[in-house]
């Protein structure tokens, strides 16, 4: 469904991604790990369509279509969801209003009628339980005054509402305590349908105890330098990234 081929990206003249190739099939879970500054979040943002980086080479296909040509809102409606590392606050806009607008845009795209208020609230109640999110949060403004953990739960809650084909979770585990981590991870597992895929971006192996990846990639210096099974995550946890850095640097 997603095919990234030799993607090169630079930001303000600086090369951040130096030729990434990656392909995700329906139902797969990919983990992308790597040290700080390796380009993980840039990759996530480019896939979601954030307009801050220049793609200098390569292509990204989404079900055969040129993803990079699509507007960010169309990528969302075509099933790509980004769980933000730092969710944005929008004062005065209630979660209910925000999600209702988003969901109805998705429905319109599929040729469906907008949901009635009562149907919408019903769905919202169901999904709230999946991520054990406090009912009160739904009546508050988008992310305003939410704690770090609440913001991350709220991302997964939105994922549950929008039912994406591909969810890119950008360091969803950062800033979460063990309980919140478990809730968030279990939420992701419950939401996931057999044919939907997840790209988990993380520093740590602990999230991958819950969301078990089919493939683990290590991103370093804007390249995928290693791809392996889930055991790679364990190895990284034990040995850190230095041995990979050395491996790569020696090759150069």
């Amino acid at each position: 469904m997603l095919v990234i081929d030799n993607l090169k990206v630079n930001i303000e003249g600086k090369n951040i991604l130096n030729g990434i190739s990656l392909s995700v099939k329906p139902g797969e879970i990919h983990a992308i790990m790597g040290p700080n500054g390796s380009g993980k979040s840039t990759l996530a943002a480019v896939l979601a369509g954030r307009n801050f980086a220049e793609v200098t080479e390569g292509s990204v296909k989404w079900f055969g279509r040129d993803l990079l040509e699509m507007a960010p809102e169309d990528r969302s409606k075509e099933g790509i969801f980004l769980g933000f590392q730092y969710p944005i606050e929008i004062p005065g806009v209630s979660m209910v209003n925000f999600l209702k607008t988003a969901l109805n845009e998705h429905r319109k795209h599929k040729g469906l009628e907008p949901l009635s208020a009562s149907d919408f609230l019903k769905i919202m109640r169901e999904k709230k339980e999946l991520v054990e999110i406090d009912s009160k949060l739904a009546n508050r403004s988008v992310n305003e005054g939410f704690s770090g953990g609440e913001k991350k739960k709220n991302e997964i809650f939105q994922m549950a509402m929008l039912e994406p084909k591909l969810a890119i979770l950008d360091e969803t585990d950062s800033g979460l305590d063990i309980d919140a981590l478990r809730i968030v991870a279990n939420g992701v597992n419950k939401i996931r349908r057999p044919d939907s895929s997840v790209i988990v971006i993380t520093h740590y192996q602990r999230l991958l105890d819950y969301i078990i990846p089919d493939v683990v990639h290590v991103l370093y210096d804007g390249r995928i330098v290693k791809t392996s099974g889930k055991e790679l995550a364990m190895e990284l946890e034990e040995k850190g990234y230095d041995w990979i850095k050395k491996e790569v640097d020696n090759q150069v």
Binding site: G49, I90, G92, S94, F98, A102, E105, L162
Partner: protein, 482 residues
Amino acid sequence: MKKAQDRILKDVTAGEYKYGFYTDIETEKIPRGLSEDVVRLISGKKNEPSWLLDFRLKSYRHWSTMKMPDWANLRIPEINYQDIIYYAAPKQKISHESLDDIDPELKRTFDRLGIPLEEQKHLAGVAVDAVMDSVSVKTTFRETLAELGIIFCSFSEAVREYPDLVKRYMGTVVPYTDNFFASLNSAVFSDGSFCYIPKGVRCPMELSTYFRINAANTGQFERTLLIADEESYVSYLEGCTAPMRDENQLHAAVVEIIAEKRAEVKYSTVQNWYPGDRDGKGGIFNFVTKRGICRGENSRISWAQVETGSAITWKYPSCILKGDNSSGEFYSVAVTNNHQQADTGTKMIHIGKNTKSTIVSKGISAGFGQNSYRGLVKVLKNASNARNFSQCDSLLLGDKCGAHTFPYIEVDNPNAVVEHEATTSKIGEDQIFYCNQRGISTEDAIGLIVNGYAREVINKLPMEFAVEAQKLLQISLEGSVG
């Protein structure tokens, strides 16, 4: 209610300035220019009693000695007051008795504006006085209201039928000497709405006036007088639109509100006069004096305004808090997009003891728009324990617009507590991207964010109009980003 909301939603989402059409109807106009003779002519057209003509002449003579104010943060092109037509009326026999007497073309115009003149078609619970150019066309639900002793009619009729009330109250809140535009209005005002709520009556429906400018080269000068007698309650709202034209048109209105003991008045405005085109050509000059007095103790006046239209807005709906324990409120959202300019705010004059005022002003600037908040909080010597809270927020879209704040605070009583908070913010690209990522287009995202920003004020409007106001905000900012 749900249906009505959907209809409004559908109507207002349709386009840019969708009220810009012109009704081709035979109109009676007087020649351009202003003189004592013109004032007499207007008064004569309306068969007015001599006391009213005297009031007009007094006002005119005073106005002739005045200069247009230049203290506002506005660039106003020179206005030639001799080039304006001061009276224009759709040619028809005005009869408020039967709908059959109204020109079908006129009926269609108000239908297109979403203001059907047939009572059964209208939004439940809203009585309307429809004013086109210089005259009131039709006032709905008069009989229903009359059963409760409520008087709701055009200003001209009030002069004929309730001269004592008009005489007693007119000019007591906004004297004819008040300011340049109020004096001009006092000399040439043509029509408007009159409303009286008797003692102890809660008005069961929203009262509203819909102002429409249609004729070219004319000014509109309406006057509204609203009296809430002891322990009464009324919620009143006004809406305004005008055709799209290349030249500017002047609208100088006066609104006076009187609230007696324990009376409560809510006055809401959705102002959508033609704002001019993208390059700032054309549009209405909206120079309006609105003021209410809380005469009796424990009375309350609340202004709520959503200002999206007009090329230039100059208006300061104010409260004189004379009665002890009385309170005044001002909630405002003002949008300036393209080349629009607004200098708007309020005055809260605390005279009585334990008086309270609240000011919430939300300015939104986009394009080349310039938006100024100007507000005065004045606490007089005897107003012990007066309280004021003011909050002035500005939201900027883009980097060519401006937001300005001019708060004036004058306190002569040591017990008074006056608070002022102000913020300036921009819509962040990250906010827009966050919405985009959830499937919401940039245009819709701005609408959502702006409405969130203005929510505190929009919530003060009657429900049907809150929906309309939300859509208006979104439409008036279309194309302002990206």
